[in-house]
Symmetry: C2
Subunit: 190 residues, 2 copies
C-alpha cells in the first residue's frame, strides 16, 4: 500500500516544514510575532492545518525547544569530550553553551525562557533536560572537591544561563562574553 505511506510521508514532511518555518520565523522576527496566521501564510496553508499537527501554538514552540535541546546536548558533549584535559573541557563546554544561545536565541528562548509546561508535562522532555544536565555534571565533576556535585552543577548551569539571557537582553558588554566564561571557569576550578 504505497498510498497510505505516501500520505503519511507527506504529512510528516509538512510536520517538519511547520517546525522549520516556525524556527526560522522566530529567529528572524521573534516568538512574539510568530502568529498562527503568519506561520500558516509562510507554509502556504490555512491556520487550521497547524492544529492538525499540533495542539496549539505553544506546542509548536515546545517542539522547536525539544529539537533545540537535542542539538544542544550534542554540542555540549562534543565540546566537552574533544579537549585534552578536564579544565579545557569545562571551558569548551561553557563557551559552546554561550555560543549556541547566542547563535540561536529564539531556540534558546523556547527551551529555557518561554513560559511552557514542557519540563514536567511532556514525555521525553524531562529525560532530555536530565541528559543536558548530565553533560554539565560530567564536565564539572573533576572540580567538585568535596562539594555536593549536583548543587555545583546547578550553580554552573545557572551562571551560564544568566550570562546567556542577560547578554541577549543587552545587559552585559557583548565583546566580553568570552572573558566572562573564562573567569567563571577559573573561579570554579581554582
Amino acid at each position: 500500500m504505497p498510498t497510505q505511506s505516501r500520505r503519511e510521508r507527506a504529512r510528516a514532511e509538512r510536520h517538519e516544514l511547520i517546525l522549520r518555518t516556525a524556527r526560522e520565523l522566530a529567529e528572524s522576527i521573534g516568538w512574539g510575532a510568530v502568529t498562527t496566521r503568519r506561520l500558516a501564510e509562510a507554509i502556504d496553508y490555512s491556520q487550521p492545518v497547524l492544529y492538525g499537527h499540533f495542539e496549539n501554538m505553544n506546542a509548536i514552540a515546545d517542539a522547536v525547544a525539544i529539537q533545540g535541546i537535542e542539538e544542544l546536548i550534542d554540542v555540549l558533549r562534543h565540546a566537552r569530550t574533544s579537549t585534552p584535559d578536564a579544565t579545557a573541557g569545562l571551558n569548551a563546554l561553557a563557551k559552546a553553551y554561550l555560543k549556541y544561545a547566542s547563535n540561536h536565541p529564539a531556540v534558546y528562548e523556547a527551551i529555557f525562557v518561554r513560559p511552557t509546561d514542557l519540563e514536567f508535562a511532556s514525555t521525553d522532555s524531562p529525560l532530555l533536560l536530565k541528559t543536558a544536565f548530565a553533560e554539565f555534571q560530567a564536565a564539572i565533576e573533576p572540580f567538585a572537591a568535596g562539594e555536593d556535585l549536583e548543587t555545583l552543577t546547578e550553580v554552573l548551569w545557572s551562571a551560564l544561563h544568566g550570562q546567556a539571557t542577560l547578554s541577549h537582553a543587552s545587559r552585559l558588554r557583548p565583546e566580553l562574553s568570552s572573558a566572562r566564561a573564562d573567569l567563571l571557569v577559573k573561579v570554579i576550578t581554582s
Copy 2:
C-alpha cells in the same frame, strides 16, 4: 488655586493606583493575564483612562519595573552594609537578591526578563541599573584579587540572575536555593 492642585493630586493618586493594581495583578495572575480591560476593571475605570497616564501597556510594566529596581537597590544596599565582614556581606547580598526575586517574581520579571526597551530608552533607568550594578560591584570588590572588577561583577550578577530565573521556572531544586547561593559565594571568595 486649590482646584488645579486638587486635580493634580487626584491624578497622581490614580497614577499610583494604576501602578499598584498592575503590580498586584501581575503577582497574582502573571503579566500575560494583565490586560488593559482587566486592569481598567480593577481600578474601576474604562481602558482609555490608562492611556491618559501611560503611553501603552508596556509602559505600565516598565514603570512597575522602575519602582522595583529602586526597591531592589535598597534591599541590596541594606544587606551588604549590615554585616560584620566582606564575605558575610557578599553572602547576604546574594541571599537578598534571590529572596527578592522569589518574593516578587512578577516585578523581577518586569525588570529583567520581560522584553522592554527600558535599558537604553528611558531617562533614569540606565542610572538605576548602574546603581544596582554598583551594589554588586561594591560587594565583590574585596575578592577581585587581580581579576577585572567589572567582568567579575558581571559574572556574579549573571550567576545570581540565572539562579533566580531557573528557580522560578522550576528547573532547580527549590529547597536548595540557599545552598546554591552559599556555594556560589564560596567559589568566588576562595
